[in-house]
Amino acid sequence: MRRLLASRLLQGIAVVWVVTTLTFVLLHLAPGDPYAFREGVPVAPEVLQHWRHVYCLDRPVSAQYVCYLRSVASGDLGYSLSQHRPVRDILIDYVPRTLELMFFGMLASFALGIALGVLEARRRGTFADWGSRGISLFFYSMPDFWLALMLALLFAYWLPIFPISGIENVIAAPTNSWWQRAGDHLRHLVLPVTTLMLMTCAGIARFQRAAMLDAMRLDFVVTARAKGVPEHAIAGHHVLRNALLPVITLAGITLPSLLGGAVLVELIFSWPGMGYITAMAVGSRDYALVTSSVLVTSVLVVLGTIAADVLYAIADPRVRAA
């Protein structure tokens, strides 16, 4: 187990380094820099020159990379030129909001995906099976921004049940009690989480359905059925428990796609998280912020994958032994 963990950690460190370096280089090769003149903001060339020098932007890319590595090694993630704040402070504000969205998004996706997978497997070949697969595939095929806008239009504008965007009611928040604020915040979570859930649950459901069907053919299920165990008990206690194992792996794979989808979801629902701030930072060529956001995101993905591997090893003794 320790060897597995150590090996995964080493791989993870290498992946994070490669991803961050590639991001750094590609971003610097793209035209423009944080001080490429901005429309509507007349800034004197001597001021731009001064700031370029302060932030090493007047040096070759390799020298800038050395600058960056040195500052990261000393625990300083740099200074965001678009936000005018240390990158560390920005991440402290924005990362928890993305983690919150991811947590609820994954929870909802897996809850619905597993439930649909079980339903489809138990009702295999029926209208419920076809209908459920068709509907979840429909949402899976939808472009994420379109799905998000349609949900906002339907549940926030035509049927004004949830707020359109943001993380709180900006008018009432200062005077609300903590529990009103918590409730308000939960209401603001509903539409972005629903979007993420609908985007990803189809894949989980299909995976779960296949795993259930495989498990249903195993000998111990036949034995249980022969012993007269009721179908719902077989499905819940025998089949589902075994069919959940492969889904653990899926958790590690789903995290990157959820994080990717979160960029547009955060932008459309004005959810100020990592996706939102990274998209803004890319647009303004804020090198330090983009690179650090990618660094944090890749660390999250690597940790998610390692956690999935470890959980799988804990759940399945065969993997531990191997």
């Binding site: 060339p45 965007s165 943001g166 993380i167 900006v170 008018i171």
Partner: protein, 556 residues
């Protein structure tokens, strides 16, 4: 807690949230909720570079004087008192003494004094701070405090805009809170996130990426603001922003797209307000070839540039992409400038004349409908930012109009940062540019003269050079007599229009959407928000069924 036990708790929270806002609604004062696309960067004015932070800063920090709505920048005519209630020129005009309003105070209660002005000048001039204002106040030699209420600005030399530069460029900062911080450390100082100003609104809270809130300072020295709360609610998606306005989550949005204006008509509780903005859009023509030295085979010829300008029906293009209220630009200046002259000659829409000029210049029409000269096709690429739907639509229209006179045009769409970077590196043939203008017409010197072209910086990216234009601009900028200055500007403008270094398309006329309960004051061309303290938000009923916004003032 087992899941089934947690569910009622979550449901209670949701119910509480729905009910909570309705109960709070009655107690809320008048509030203006503004949807804006980006969060502020830093609220310390010398470090502010984005629009949202500029708006917040303008309501929290005062200048000594404010230009009048006519935007005169020569001498002191039309300027309004702000922190300074009066001023005195020295006999030789080499110094101006401002007298501060003794009632002015910082939001922490400390009075505003002359040493705050001295400090503010020093910080804005500091290279370690790198304020965008720095070069604009270079004409000021020093600022001293004659007494606690009288800062004195000393100038290197007389200039027509010395009063404007001294009194209206710097926002005054609280020295007692900032002077102990080294200039180089200001950018990370907590003050930038929790500022203390002296303006009509005081800082209330800032939730990163979500909202910024200011409350009215009821003891403001020039009178209590009429709206109690201002909230900038950050909404990056324009689709979400318009939905927020329609649903009542916001009661003001700064910019409506043409398609939004059409939809607004279906909402009687909302209105669209047109107001001028100091921004000019044009198709910039790069007069240098890709090597940066030799003339561009097409745009290096003044007559061809004029012909291409005459091939464009600008009024029709603007009406098609925007609306009939948007003015066609005459040149790289605003019709809101005091130097503007509506009698300026313009190159007409005359496609037949354009064809004749191209024929005369040796561009012969080929069988493929494209003109050629010495083996070179009349073929070029328009660079457009992919983030601007308006400019992309404009590019397509222009492409069609150029085709009518035998020019083949490709359109290249790039993201905004790349668009700016390509211009700065002069890697373009033609580009659809939106240029923000200073409130002063003298900004044309920095942007369009030969000196700007040869500086190889971001200005004059098309490399337009004209000794005649330079001479007129120099004379205009130095003229102490406004009438003479206007005459020189007229000649400079006429010269650049005739030389056609760009095809001037339109002046930005912003269309803001707002609730009918919002009564805006004058929306000044350079800063629409500068008089926000004089806006009113009337009584309006309305509660959103969702309970998301349920207060008289903010919902429509």
């Amino acid at each position: 807690m087992r899941p089934h036990r947690a569910l009622p708790a979550i449901a209670l929270l949701l119910l509480a949230a729905c009910g909570g806002h309705d109960r709070n609604a009655a107690t809320h004062p008048s509030t203006l909720v503004m949807s804006l696309p980006a969060d502020a960067d830093n609220l310390l004015p010398p470090l502010t570079t984005n629009e949202t932070a500029s708006q917040v800063g303008a309501l929290m920090f005062e200048k000594l004087v404010e230009p009048g709505d006519a935007l005169n920048t020569v001498g002191d005519a039309g300027f309004r008192p702000s922190l300074a209630d009066s001023w005195t020129w020295s006999a030789d005009s080499l110094s101006i003494a401002f007298h501060l309003d003794p009632k002015a105070h910082w939001h922490d209660g400390v009075p505003v004094r002359a040493n705050d002005v001295v400090y503010s000048f020093r910080v804005n001039a500091s290279k370690d701070v790198g304020s965008p204002v720095g070069p604009l106040i270079a004409i000021v030699d020093s600022v001293t405090a004659r007494d606690s209420l009288t800062p004195v600005f000393w100038f290197h030399a007389r200039s027509p805009e010395q009063f404007y530069n001294a009194g209206s460029q710097i926002r005054i900062l609280p020295a007692h809170l900032l002077q102990s911080i080294p200039d180089s450390a200001l950018k990370t100082a907590p003050f930038g996130r929790q500022p203390v100003g002296s303006g009509p609104y005081r800082f209330a809270r800032w939730v990163s990426g979500s909202s910024i809130e200011l409350d009215a300072d009821t003891t403001f020295h020039r009178g209590r603001p009429k709206v109690d709360r201002l909230i900038w609610s950050i909404t990056p998606s324009p689709d979400a922003a318009i939905l927020r306005l329609f649903s009542g989550e916001a009661n003001f949005t700064e910019y409506l797209r043409p398609q939004d204006v059409a939809q607004l008509a279906r909402h009687p509780e909302l209105k669209a307000v047109h107001h001028p903005a100091l921004q000019v859009f044009y198709m910039l023509l790069n007069e240098r070839a890709a090597n940066g030295r030799s003339p561009h085979p097409i745009f290096g010829d003044r007559e061809v540039r004029r012909a291409l300008t005459m091939a464009v029906d600008r009024r029709r293009a603007v009406n098609t992409v925007l609306d009939s209220l948007t003015p066609v630009a005459a040149g790289p200046f605003s019709s809101a400038f005091w130097s503007y002259d509506s009698t300026l000659p313009r190159l007409p829409y005359a496609p037949d004349s354009a064809r004749a000029i191209l024929d005369r210049r040796g561009w012969v029409m080929g069988p493929d409908g494209v003109r050629h000269k010495n083996g070179v096709a009349l073929h070029f690429t328009i660079l457009a930012p992919s983030t601007s739907t308006v400019r992309q639509q404009m590019a397509v229209l222009l492409q069609d109009m150029f085709k009518q006179v035998g020019a083949k045009v490709d359109i290249e769409r790039v993201d905004f940062a790349a668009f700016n970077g390509r211009q700065q590196a002069h890697q373009f043939e033609a580009a659809l540019v939106g240029m923000g203008l200073d409130p002063t017409p003298s900004g044309i010197q920095q942007e369009w003269t030969t000196q700007a072209a040869r500086a190889n910086g971001p200005s004059n990216a098309g490399k337009y050079e004209s000794a005649q234009f330079d001479a007129y601009v120099d004379s205009a900028v130095r003229a102490m007599d406004p009438a003479k200055a206007k005459s020189y500007y007229h000649q400079a403008y006429a010269t650049i229009i005739e030389d056609a270094p760009a095809i001037w398309l339109y002046e930005s006329s912003l269309v803001s959407g707002m609730s009918t309960h919002v009564q805006p004051a004058t929306m000044r061309a350079d800063m629409w928000f500068v008089h926000l303290a004089d806006w009113t938000v009337g009584d309006g009923a309305a509660t959103s069924g969702s309970g998301s916004v349920a207060l008289a003032a903010s919902a429509h």
